[in-house]
Amino acid sequence: MLIFVVSILSGIISGMGIGGGTILIPALIILFNISQQIAQGVNLISFIPTAAVAVITHIRNKNILLKLSVLLICGGLFGAVLGSILASSISSPVLRKLFGIFLFIMGIYEIISKKKK
């Protein structure tokens, strides 16, 4: 039941184009005591149908900039292969720490950029 509530919440955030994994991954690790890589894998896999539903809705609402999307995907696929191979080759505690630092920097950035506006 708890996993369902957590999933719905993270799904809502994902559907809004915000990384739902930022909530889902720490929640999965705390609730199910799984490795960082497994939690990340769950987030990646579960994001696929969630994103597909969101993309269809966004296409209907004409919110997607297609040309920009294609170019970003071109570069993104290359980066995705590199990042995923690296994640698979480092230890879970190290990856978890890196993940925490990454989230912290991103959170700080978000607060700073909000003040600028």
Partner: protein
């Protein structure tokens, strides 16, 4: 010339977003949305929608690599899929009703909370 430079910039943003999304299994949107808004001058709501369309194929590729390395928990994934698909639909529906500022606020707060949970 100018068009090429812009294309290179966009592709570079894509590489970075793809790399971190693969490394951390999330966060592609965290990079893409601010990059599109501040570097490319894209409207906040369009940036959010475009980010999802980009991260979808990237997550498929990353999932395949995680799966090949035995980092896939199907049981847990299916449970999460049920909840997050419903949530994803709700999120996409309410996206057009939110102001850019409200989105940013929700975004920032959720990031900070998650970061603290991971560090401590």
């Amino acid at each position: 010339m100018r068009k090429n430079a812009a294309a290179i910039k966009i592709i570079a943003i894509g590489v970075l977003a793809g790399f971190f999304n693969g490394l951390f299994g999330s966060g592609g949107g965290t990079i893409l949305v601010p990059a599109m808004v501040s570097l490319l001058g894209v409207d906040q709501q369009k940036a959010h929608a475009t980010a999802i369309s980009v991260i979808l194929p990237l997550s498929i590729v990353s999932s395949l690599i995680y799966f090949r390395n035995d980092f896939a928990d199907w049981n847990l994934s299916i449970n999460v899929i049920f909840g997050s698909t419903i949530g994803g639909y709700i999120g996409a529906k309410i996206l057009n009703r939110f102001s850019a500022n409200a989105l940013r606020k929700i975004f920032g707060i959720s990031m900070i909370i998650a970061a603290f949970r991971m560090v401590f």
